[in-house]
């Protein structure tokens, strides 16, 4: 099985398109870095000397809003409470919200490129089975002493590993470039997190890593879906098209649906953004991290079972 994964890995790495993907990610991080540096040089950033007053006004406004909502149970309540708590913490401990550019602000900016990681992972996952059929090489694999289950699992695992490689390339390159261009930043650069009703200071590196991994959940699920579609329908165009469409508009559509229907919480995209339980509010009241993880696992099992069953039973005529 390890040998099979190694084989798949070599087939991905030795294709020119793969290098283009990795190169493009590095290049775009570079472009974002160059642009940020240029902006920094143009507008000298200064802190707002009256930030405490402004923030206090914000807090008062939020508190007023909270009162208006009253006893009604609304997701926004939790969001407001957290916002107030963090702002009060800032005032109390004198933590200026203004941050000069540092490696961490840069990593946060560069995290917008995660969508590119998603895109490339989907392309690889949708092609890894389909192209063997196109080349006819699927026959070579299937007449060797390995069960079809092992063949398809090795392909799936390789696609996901490739996605993780891209993600770490992005994180690593942006940390490296961020350090080179902006340095580690000054003063207190910890992340303020709202945990169980009180504010905690957390390491920015840990937070960034967590943010990246959480963002990968969506990529991971969509890549699995693309993998399933291309295996079942033997059509990588449909697989790529549909997955990319959902990658871009899936969450928007889901947001609309969850506004009107309670069952919206079972939709894949209502659950892929696990950051909503850390930094935001879930789309439907009562959703928890555990609930989402179970829903995601459910989808995963369905996608993989479908791909596996169809692939194992198929008569290969390629």
């Amino acid at each position: 099985m390890l040998k099979l994964i190694l084989n798949e890995w070599i087939k991905i790495i030795k294709r020119p398109g793969t290098l283009v993907m990795i190169g493009l990610i590095v290049l775009l991080v570079g472009a974002v870095g160059a642009f940020s540096k240029y902006q920094e040089g143009k507008h000298v950033q200064t802190a707002d000397p009256k930030w405490k007053e402004t923030m206090q006004q914000d807090i008062n406004a939020s508190k007023k809003q909270l009162k208006e909502i009253g006893k009604k149970d609304a997701p926004i309540k939790k969001f407001l409470k957290r916002d107030i708590a963090i702002k009060e913490y800032r005032i109390k401990h004198d933590i200026d919200p203004f941050e000069k550019n540092s490696v961490w602000t840069f990593v946060t900016t560069a995290s917008n490129l995660i969508i590119l990681v998603g895109l490339f992972t989907i392309i690889i996952a949708a092609n890894i089975v389909a192209s063997e059929f196109n080349w006819g090489t699927i026959k070579l694999l299937l007449i060797r002493p390995f069960s079809r289950t092992k063949i398809i699992l090795s392909k799936y695992i390789t696609s996901i590993l490739f996605g993780i490689l891209l993600l770490f390339t992005l994180l690593f390159v942006s940390i490296l470039l961020g350090l080179m261009l902006f340095g580690t930043g000054e003063g207190n650069v910890s992340h303020l997190a709202y945990v169980h009703g009180h504010v905690e200071e957390q390491s920015r590196l840990l937070y960034s890593a967590k943010f990246y991994l959480m963002s990968f959940v969506e990529t991971f699920m969509l890549a699995t879906m693309a993998f399933m579609i291309s295996t079942v329908f033997r059509n990588n165009t449909i697989a790529i098209g549909l997955s990319i469409l959902l990658l871009t508009v899936g969450s928007v559509i889901t947001n609309i649906l969850t506004n009107f229907f309670d069952w919206g919480k079972y939709i894949l995209f209502a659950n892929t953004n696990l950051m909503q339980y850390i930094d935001g509010t879930p789309p439907v009241q009562g959703m928890t991290m555990t609930f989402s993880i179970f829903v995601l696992l459910g989808y995963l099992v369905v996608f993989l079972t479908l791909a596996l069953l169809v692939f194992s039973k198929r008569d290969v005529t390629a």
Partner: protein, 298 residues
């Protein structure tokens, strides 16, 4: 005697209520080249795909070296090397990397073995080049190298001479002879071209409409080949008279007489006795081609 390494037992395939292959049964022995002959669409490729597990078997079974391909796929297929239709290779990899892909799928393949096989098929000079630069003949040879890596007991080649020039076919034949006679491998080749099969195979099974029509050894086919003899004689009318008790036909001024080989001397004697001059005698062997058409046009 010889051991049946592949046993095909009542093999059938039904696709969408259409019987593509119906109740095929035959054995293939160690050290022989078995030809699987039939017109296009007769079910050759489907049968081969079932033999290597690419297609499901509707009924019957294929037993390779004692293991059923249906119930014990991994053990059965370990002994098989196959090229189904074209040799499929990763064009963006070098010849050597292609072989490495294959080698990783079998524990027993060493680097040494790879070099050995590469030399056997004569690709030593080109093995580091990308496959997309290879000619068709080179691809065929690389394909052959690929399925020889794990020393299979059975080699299955579907249309191996497709697109090869005569020199390539000859080369392929020499390879196959070497493998069967020296290594005791059993080789199954399929083709719709008779002349090629005649050159390469020891036994030929003819399949049509998914059914096995006949299995014959190539020697047998050639032996009882000639069924008539052409006599070029000086005095045709006289000769016809003399030979009136035989079936005689006049074709292009020659007398074609339907007789067995052992009757030839007595005919000559008869003609000489009657003072008829004989200028030439030749055997009219019915070509394998004609026999094939005869068999498949029933």
């Amino acid at each position: 005697m010889e051991k049946a390494i592949v046993q095909i037992k009542g093999l059938s395939k039904v696709i969408k209520n259409k019987k593509i292959v119906s109740d095929l049964s035959f054995d293939i022995y160690e050290g022989e080249v078995f030809g699987f002959l039939g017109p296009n669409g007769a079910g050759k490729t489907t049968t081969i795909r079932m033999m290597v597990g690419l297609m499901g078997i509707t009924e019957g079974d294929v037993v390779i070296n004692g293991h059923s391909i249906k119930s014990n796929f991994e053990e059965a297929v370990k002994n098989v090397g196959a090229i189904v239709e074209n040799p499929e290779l990763y064009k963006f990899l070098s010849g050597y990397d292609n072989l490495l892909q294959y080698a990783r799928m079998d524990k027993n393949v060493t680097k040494q073995k790879i070099d050995e096989v590469v030399e056997l098929v004569g690709l030593t000079d080109a093995i580091r080049q990308k496959v997309k630069t290879y000619s068709l003949g080179m691809r065929q040879r690389l394909g052959l190298a690929q399925c020889l890596l794990h020393d299979p007991k059975v080699l299955i080649l579907d249309e191996p001479t497709n697109g090869l020039d005569p020199a390539g076919i000859r080369e392929m034949r020499d390879h196959l002879q070497l493998l069967t006679k020296k290594k005791g491998m059993a080789i199954i080749v399929s083709s719709h071209l008779l002349s090629e099969m005649e050159m390469m195979c020891d036994r030929i099974g003819v399949i049509q409409h998914g059914k096995l029509i006949d299995v014959q050894t190539v020697n047998e086919l050639n032996k009882d080949d000639a069924q008539s003899y052409a006599f070029e004689v000086g005095e045709v009318p006289a000769a016809e008279k003399v030979l009136s008790e035989y079936k005689v036909q006049m074709i292009d001024g020659e007398l074609h007489i339907e007789i067995a080989r052992e009757d030839v001397p007595s005919i000559i004697e008869l003609l000489v006795e009657n003072r008829i001059s004989i200028y030439g005698i030749k055997a009219n062997s019915k070509s394998l081609e004609e026999r094939f058409l005869e068999m498949t046009n029933v």
